[in-house]
Symmetry: C2
Subunit: 133 residues, 2 copies
Amino acid sequence: MKRRNTPTKEAVLKLLAQSGKALSHEAIEKAIDIPINRATIYRVLNQFCHDGTVHKIVAEDGKQYFAVCMKCEGDAPQEPHFHFRCTSCDSIECLKEPVHFSLPEGYEVASVNCVLSGLCSKCSSHNSTCENE
Amino acid sequence: MKRRNTPTKEAVLKLLAQSGKALSHEAIEKAIDIPINRATIYRVLNQFCHDGTVHKIVAEDGKQYFAVCMKCEGDAPQEPHFHFRCTSCDSIECLKEPVHFSLPEGYEVASVNCVLSGLCSKCSSHNSTCENE
DNA sequence: TTTATTAATGCGACATTATTGCAATAATAA
DNA sequence: TTATTATTGCAATAATGTCGCATTAATAAA
């Protein structure tokens, strides 16, 4: 199916790229300057995923987050990497850290979903040494 | 809050232990011989998690799966490990493979949720060499 | 520039997962 | 045997994500 350029797609992709993080549909809906329907956001995001522009992460909260593929070089086919979810500022970021593992005989991996949760550097330092902003 | 032994708890824990896998509330409800309400299953499972008897995994389908902590020795405080979700037989198992990673300065990890998806050895061999059962 | 094609969108409805309040039940202590 | 209160079932609810359908609009064709 041929793609068309629309304000919606541009806005979503721009937002994802600028934020540099993985965002939920809700975060996108809030952060974006034009009103976009929830169903549309999902359709756009899934299309991006299908086209390889964006990748999806499912966190332990069971929600889907979407991030551009990737600040890094970009030509390599996107090595699986860890994601970090800060439970304080509720954002998810892609880590440089690649995911390494070995599997028992006969197993075939199709996708990798690895999320570490806790406090990012900002929030952990806030908690220990600073006041909240 | 003090715990009480009930047929429900016994049945759920026994099922999880016997299966050796991570099960969803739905799988538990189906597999168990006595009828148990969905809400009750979740409450029991979350209680087990809280008590450290069971751990929770969230797969890329966004669903929660629960597994006993663990066939292995059991005295060590349960090292984070990979989980494998077979998309064919739709089961999740704990892998021996531990999760290793390093984090940027200042980050603090509270929980680890790593799920690999694909075909387990049984299903991948069925696909390539055998008929379906 | 105008028209035709069909991808994209908004809306409402829906399926699913998970949680919560409340009254009834039952496990344990007294 | 009785009292206490953890546990359970039920119904209601919140939230996430998907789908069908009619309308709109991006792009190609005339």
